[in-house]
């Protein structure tokens, strides 16, 4: 069941540390340094030190933080992703989103504010300036 995926995500989790299956409900401050796949329910807070995949059918009532994430399930809470955030067409998000890079698929439900990470923006400007200097 783990090799199959209903979400059309580009993320490939080669090494997974935690899997929250569909018959499990996690309550409290859920922290994990490795990659996480969520197919069940999470209530409280969800902090992932690496890649997070929230699959279609899962229900998260928590603020979510991760290095990179693919969201295909329901999230009630704010989402903060340092790197790439992919919201697939099955996602339902009620909360604010902050990410370095973002992609939202057609059909996804998203009700909240969206902002890009400041560091990422400033890095982008610096990169642009450096490129312009290089051209001159």
């Amino acid at each position: 069941m783990f090799s199959k995926t209903n979400d059309n995500s580009v993320m490939n989790l080669k090494e997974v540390e935690t899997i929250v299956g569909p018959s499990v409900k996690v309550k409290g401050d859920f922290h994990c340094g490795g990659n996480i796949i969520v197919e069940g329910e999470v209530e409280g807070s969800l902090i992932c030190g690496n890649m997070l995949q929230i699959k279609n059918g899962s229900k998260i009532s928590a603020d979510v933080s991760a290095k990179e994430a693919v969201i295909g399930g329901e999230v009630n809470g704010d989402i903060k992703v340092n790197g790439y955030l992919e919201i697939t067409e099955t996602a339902k998000i009620l909360g604010d989103v902050e990410a370095g890079i973002i992609s939202i698929a057609k059909g996804a439900f998203f009700n909240g504010n969206c902002s890009m990470t400041k560091d990422r923006q400033s890095n982008g400007k610096e990169e642009k300036k450096t490129a312009e200097r290089g051209e001159q």
């Binding site: 069941m1 783990f2 935690t18 018959s23 996690v26 329910e41």
Partner: protein
């Protein structure tokens, strides 16, 4: 001195030839030692402790997974290594440690490749491989501040230290008994993998310490009865074990 501890089932005549072969091979390799037998007369813990006190260099479990777990529970620490000679059925622990059959096991003892591994502890009960239950009337509170509840009844729940071949792990998961972590595995709703009759798992959590909380008794491995609350902990580098080249970690 090597101390070979034979399990009670090896008293059956059908194992006489196998034991004779093993003993001959051990003598050829210069690994002869004392033979102790598990039985009703003497408790395993007394037998192992006495032999270590008398200066046993290695304790060797001769038997199956149950023999290994019985002896692991009695090992006082990692100073004296544990060797395994698998005989009969149910030797998944030996297989995971790269020990496939009786005679190659003697050669592995001779090569003496010692690895330190962790153990799981529930209450004061130590285990090398895993403990399991089908009870669903408990909550597991993990040390890192969250708890796990089941939304359906009756899946097999295992707490694993050393992975054995009967567990079909989800792709991408790597367990190592040296990392100081235990894994909680919850069986998937689907039936067993028909071809290999292995159990598939849908949920995996890694932890170092957890508490089982229940209002009715929960029994693990038909052996450990939990009533109320009990701690489960990973004990890093708690056992030295002689392994083969083809070990699974």
């Amino acid at each position: 001195m090597h101390v070979y501890i034979y399990d009670t089932f090896l008293g059956d005549k059908k194992f006489a030839r196998t034991l004779a072969k093993i003993e001959a091979r051990i003598t050829d390799l210069g690994l002869s030692g004392k033979i102790g037998r598990l039985g009703v007369a003497k408790k395993t813990i007394d037998l192992v402790k006495d032999e270590i006190k008398r200066g046993a260099k290695t304790i060797i479990a001769v038997g199956n997974d149950e023999t290994v777990e019985k002896i692991v529970r009695c090992m006082p620490g990692p100073e004296t290594p544990l060797g395994i000679i698998p005989i009969g059925k149910d030797n998944l622990i030996a297989e995971s440690l790269g020990i496939t059959a009786e005679l190659p096991a003697c050669d592995i003892l001779s090569a003496r490749r010692v690895e330190r591994v962790g153990l799981g502890v529930i209450g004061d009960f130590h285990f090398l491989s895993k403990i399991s239950t089908t009870a669903d009337n408990f909550t597991l509170r993990l040390d890192s501040g969250y708890s796990i509840e089941l939304k359906r009844r009756g899946p097999i729940i295992s707490i694993v230290n050393l992975v054995t071949a009967d567990l079909a792990l989800p792709e991408g998961l790597r367990f190592n008994p040296r990392d100081g972590l235990l894994r909680l595995l919850i069986e998937a709703r689907e039936k067993k993998n028909v071809i290999f009759s292995r159990k598939n798992f849908e949920s995996v959590f890694a932890f170092t310490k957890a508490t089982v909380i229940c209002d009715k008794p929960v029994i693990f491995n038909n052996l450990i009865k939990v009533n109320g609350a009990i701690e489960i902990e990973a004990k890093k580098n708690a056992l030295s074990v002689i392994v083969g080249k083809n070990r699974q970690f």
